[in-house]
Amino acid sequence: MSDSPVLDVEGLAVTIGTRRGPARAVAGVDWSVQAGQTLALVGESGSGKSMSVLAATGLAPRTARVTGRVRLLGTDLTEVSPERRRRLRGRHVGFVFQDPMTSLNPVLTVGRQVSEAGEEHLGLTRRAARARAVELLDLVGIPSAAQRVDAYPHQFSGGMRQRVVIAMALACEPDLLIADEPTTALDVTTQAQIVELVADLQHRLGTAVVWITHDLGVVAGIADTVAVMYAGRIVEQGPVDAVFAHPAHPYTVALLAARPDPAARGADLVTIPGAPPSPWELPTGCAFFPRCPVRGDARCEHELPPLVPVSGRHQVRTFYPQATDGEDR
C-alpha cells in the first residue's frame, strides 16, 4: 500500500447553506496523503482548510453540500452510506482538534473517553478498553497513567488534555490522523512538545498525518508536502522544501515574508494588506487579485488561473509565477 494514498481528495467542493445564501467554503480542491507522510494544509482563517478535511470525512455541518470524490484506503466516502462512513471514522481516521479545553467532555473520565472508540470499533470489552486506555495515555506521555485514567478533563492542564485527545485519536491505530490546528490554543513550549509527540508517534505507527495550521514554522518542521489554501482553493502545493525555497504564488511569497523575523526585533511586523474575499461572493478570477502586489493583467481579475506545475510535483495557481530564491528552511 506504500504507493496508493491513504486519503485521496479530488475536486472536493463544499457549499454551506446560510441565512445570507449559499457560502462557498471550499471551491474544488485536490490533495492526497501517503502512509507515513505528513501533508500540511496552510491558510488564513476561513480559507477552507478545516472545512475541506471535515467535509471529506463526513463531519461537515448539516447544512453543507459536499461534492467531489474522497477515497479513504480506496473506498469512496462520498458514495457510501453515512453509517458506513461513521464506522470508518474513528477506526481508520483519528482527529485532534484545536482547543483541548473544549474538545473533551467535562463529565466523563478521560479513560472513558479514550476507551469508547475501541469498544465501538474493535469490539473490546469495557475492561479491555480501559487497559488499552492506560496504555495509550502512557504512550502519549501522561505520567502515572494508571491513576490518571480515572481523572476528569478539568484535572489536566491544556497540554496534558491535548495529549489525551491524541490518545483518543490513536485508540484504534488509525491509518490517518487529522490534526486541526492542534497547537494553536497552547503556549509555545507546550506547542513544541505536542508537535514532537505527534511526529514521534507517526514515526512509530506509520500513520499518515494531515496537519491543518497557519503556523509556517510547524510546517517547515514536520511536513513532507504542503498545500497553501486561499479562499477555498489551493493556490500552491508541493514538497515542503520546494515550496519554501521557491514560493511561486504571490500569496505564498507574502505569507512567508510575513513570518516574524527574530533578527528584525522591534521593526513593524510585515502584513498582507486587505482581507480575503467573502465566501458568499467569490470573484470569477484569481481570488487573491484584490490584494496581489503583482496584478499582472485583466486576465487575473476575470479568469481563474489553472494549477500549473512549476517543477516536479510543485504546482501553483497563478498566471505570474514568481521566480524567488526564497530561503532554506
Partner: protein, 314 residues
C-alpha cells in the same frame, strides 16, 4: 460533604427566620380583624376580648412575634382561629395530598418533556420539532384552570372515565387515589411539561454545538451513543434546577387547581386561610412552603456535585 450540608442548613434557618418576620409583618398590614371574622354572627364584646387575649393579640407586636418564634422552635405554630386546632397538625395533614399531586404531576411532565425535548433538539427543524414547539407554546400560554375545566368536561362529563373532583388518600385505596389524581396531575403536569420541553430542547441544542460532541462524532460513535453519553448527560444538568424549582412550587400547592378539583392540599389550605383571615394557619402554610423550597435547593446543589465532576461541595 457533611460540613457543607450543616452549613447550608444553618443558612436555611436564617432564611426561615427572615420569612417568619416578613410574613408576620405583612399580615399586620392586611385589613380585617381575624377574631371578628372568626366569630361572625356569634360576636359579642366579651367573647371577642377573651379570644383576643387567648391568641395573644392584645400584646404589643414585638411581644407577639417573639412569642410566636419561641413556640415555633418547639414545633408549635399556634392554634387556628377558626377551628381551634394546632396549626402544625393542620398543615402536616395537608402535606400528603399536595405531595402526591406534585410528584405525580412532575413525573407525568418528565415522561412527556424528556423524550419530546430530546427529539425536538436532535431532529431540529423536523415535523416533530415543530409539533413540540406548538405543544409547549400551547402549554405555557393556556391558563391551567381552563385546561382543568376542559379536562373535567371531557373525562368526567362526556366520557365519564374519571371522577370530576375529590381526593382519596394513596394509603387508603391506591386505585381510587390514582383515578382522582389523574386529572389534576395531568393539568398541572401539562403546564410543567411545556416549560420543561422548551428548556430541555434549548439545553440540548446548546450542548449539541459543543466541541466535545464533534469529538465524539469524530470517534465514529453511533448517533444514539453520542446523544446519550455525551449530549444528554451534559444537557440535563441545568434541567435538574428547573425540575426542582417546578417541584418546589408545586409542593407549595397549586391554589387554583386544588380549589378547582377540591383537592385538600396546601394550596387549598392557603386559600381557605386567606378567606377566613386565619393568620396562624396562613403563617404555618407559608413557612412550610419556604422550608420546602430551601430543602429542594439544598438537594439540587448536592445533586449537581454528583452530576458534574467539576463541582465539589465544600
Amino acid at each position: 460533604m457533611a460540613r457543607f450540608v450543616i452549613r447550608r442548613l444553618l443558612q436555611s434557618a436564617v432564611v426561615l427566620l427572615g420569612v417568619t418576620l416578613v410574613v408576620f409583618l405583612l399580615l399586620q398590614l392586611v385589613p380585617g380583624d381575624p377574631v371578628r371574622v372568626a366569630l361572625g354572627t356569634r360576636f359579642d364584646p366579651q367573647t371577642y376580648e377573651a379570644l383576643r387575649a387567648r391568641a395573644g393579640l392584645d400584646q404589643p407586636l414585638v411581644v407577639q412575634y417573639f412569642d410566636y418564634l419561641r413556640r415555633a422552635l418547639t414545633g408549635d405554630l399556634g392554634v387556628s382561629f377558626r377551628s381551634g386546632r394546632p396549626v402544625t397538625s393542620i398543615v402536616l395533614e395537608r402535606l400528603p395530598a399536595t405531595l402526591s399531586l406534585a410528584v405525580t404531576a412532575v413525573l407525568f411532565a418528565l415522561l412527556i418533556a424528556v423524550p419530546l425535548g430530546i427529539l425536538s433538539a436532535v431532529r431540529s427543524g423536523s415535523f416533530i420539532d415543530h409539533a413540540a414547539r406548538v405543544f409547549s407554546q400551547f402549554g405555557v400560554s393556556v391558563p391551567d384552570f381552563w385546561m382543568g375545566i376542559m379536562g373535567i368536561l371531557l373525562f368526567a362529563g362526556v366520557l365519564g372515565w374519571l371522577p370530576p373532583s375529590g381526593y382519596v388518600a394513596l394509603t387508603e385505596d391506591p386505585a381510587r387515589w390514582a383515578s382522582h389524581v389523574a386529572l389534576p396531575a395531568a393539568t398541572v403536569g401539562l403546564v410543567t411539561a411545556a416549560i420543561l420541553t422548551r428548556f430541555i430542547r434549548s439545553s440540548m441544542l446548546e450542548v449539541l454545538a459543543e466541541d466535545y460532541v464533534r469529538t465524539a462524532e469524530a470517534k465514529g460513535l453511533r448517533t444514539r451513543t453520542v446523544v446519550r453519553r455525551h449530549v444528554l448527560r451534559n444537557a440535563l444538568i441545568p434541567v435538574v434546577t428547573v425540575v426542582a424549582v417546578q417541584l418546589a412550587s408545586l409542593l407549595g400547592g397549586v391554589i387554583v387547581i386544588e380549589v378547582l378539583f377540591a383537592w385538600p392540599g396546601i394550596g387549598r389550605l392557603t386559600y381557605d386561610a386567606v378567606q377566613a383571615r386565619d393568620y396562624p394557619v396562613l403563617q404555618g402554610a407559608v413557612l412550610l412552603v419556604a422550608a420546602l423550597f430551601l430543602l429542594m435547593n439544598l438537594l439540587v446543589d448536592i445533586l449537581y456535585a454528583r452530576l458534574d465532576p467539576r463541582i465539589t461541595v465544600e
